[in-house]
């Protein structure tokens, strides 16, 4: 069979959908020189917010001209205050931390205005089908599999200057991936995490532009 026939198949992906709900408390904007940091919550014992999602959000927002401090750089420079064991869970917690002179001084050096916590993950919720492969010369695979991935991320935006929760954004995404196998398996993957990142990243970027009316229930 001509390999060219496989190219369109490889370009196909599974389907996915993203839903975003935003709650904004008052106006938000970022003054010149002020920076943002996006941190993943890692204190739950059965999942972790993926660093890949946080990196993706950071890149999406940086592309829109926002000054975003990379997560690992922030965690290292503020060690040990934002580790899973020690990270403040609410605003009073971070206000108490700011009583530490060195920490307050570094926050000021970084001109840190907003801290965004992202909590959630992407996981496979169900799968059906089976694929059998023979590991012998002339063998191959035969079968069909499909699985559903679901993502749920809750973002909370802390305004460190006004000492308030500036807003919350809930993002959910789901998608189904397929893998037909006739001799070779052909994965048609739903990019659930990256779709969630794209939707949330754009929404967060809009969040820091001055707006008159809050937006609700956006569908991507």
């Amino acid at each position: 069979m001509n390999p060219v026939y496989f190219v369109p198949l490889l370009l196909l992906t599974g389907c996915s959908s993203v839903t975003i709900d935003e709650f904004r408390q008052g106006s938000t904007s970022l003054n010149s020189g002020e920076s943002i940091v996006i941190l993943g919550r890692r204190h739950a014992n059965n999942y972790e917010t993926e660093p890949s999602l946080i990196n993706c959000l950071q890149e999406t927002m940086a592309d829109k001209g926002l000054k975003v401090i990379p997560e690992q750089e922030f965690l290292d420079e503020f060690y040990p205050f934002f580790e899973p064991r020690t990270a403040p869970l609410n605003l009073p917690g971070i206000n108490k931390l700011r009583g530490q002179d060195k920490l307050a001084e570094r926050m000021s050096q970084k001109n840190l205005r907003y801290l965004i916590w992202v909590d959630g993950n992407t996981e496979t919720t169900s799968s059906v089908g089976s694929i059998s492969c023979a590991l012998v010369p002339g063998g191959g695979c035969l079968g069909f599999g499909s699985w559903d991935d679901e993502a749920g991320y809750e973002s909370v935006i802390w305004d460190l200057k006004r000492e308030v929760v500036a807003g919350r954004i809930h993002t959910s995404a789901k998608g189904t991936s397929y893998m037909p196998a006739v001799v070779i398996p052909i994965p048609l993957l739903a990019q659930v995490e990256s779709e969630a990142c794209k939707g949330l990243g754009n929404q967060l970027s809009e969040f820091f532009q001055p707006q008159g009316e809050p937006s609700h229930g956006l569908q991507n």
Binding site: E77, P84, R106
Partner: protein
């Protein structure tokens, strides 16, 4: 050639051929107010050469060399906590206090054992704090925990190493936050550090 290829495929299917590795500490310099005392460290042979060798036949044959990583973590954290840090060869010497850490226990789980998608690691440290003259000030245990999801690693060795890195960071964070909350250490500090120093560190209201 065919045999080598089959061996490679078998190794890939099993997840990893290498079950021994050496851990490096990546704990950063802490952002805390230093205490104006000289802290000594005494790293006994058990810590210096600490390695985990798996004895359970049902598990993979791990040999994880960790001694350097633990020493690096303690030295990095203590150098941030105290004005001066010296390494000593005994539990007494020219220092206000001397910390002796030992890894008492190391435990881990890999995803196929727990049916979760997470590598987990626990450390239990036995810590002793002496004055320079050898008098024991405090003797306590400290635990730390690290985890990493399977998605971040390609092999069990990668997953365990990342989880150990996280557990070392956690141990450093716990030592930094809880050191002066150990009752005997708190009492020593109240007797030996002035009120101004305690106030700077937020130890005294």
């Amino acid at each position: 050639m065919t045999r080598a290829l089959l061996l490679l495929v078998l190794c890939l299917l099993l997840g990893s051929c290498s079950s021994s590795f050496r851990v490096k500490s990546q704990v950063p310099q802490p952002l805390v107010q230093q205490m104006p005392i000289t802290m000594g460290t005494y790293y006994p042979v058990e810590l210096r050469h600490y390695r985990y060798e798996e004895n359970n036949e049902a598990r993979e044959d791990w040999d994880i060399e960790q001694g350097d990583a633990h020493m690096q973590m303690f030295s990095r954290v203590l150098s941030g906590m105290f004005k001066n840090l010296v390494e000593l060869s005994a539990q007494s010497g020219s220092a206000d206090l001397i910390l002796t850490p030992v890894v008492e226990e190391f435990q881990y789980t890999v995803p196929r054992e727990t049916r979760s998608k997470i590598y987990e690691v626990w450390f239990k440290y036995h810590l002793q704090l002496h004055e320079g003259n050898g008098r024991l000030v405090a003797d306590w245990f400290m635990t730390s925990y690290g985890k990493t999801p399977t998605a971040f690693s390609t092999t069990d060795a990668d997953g365990l190493e990342l989880a150990i890195q996280m557990a070392l960071r956690d141990a450093g964070a716990k030592l930094l936050m809880d050191f002066s909350r150990v009752p005997e250490i708190r009492q020593w500090m109240e007797q030996n550090l002035n009120q101004h120093t305690l106030a700077i560190r937020g130890e005294k209201q």
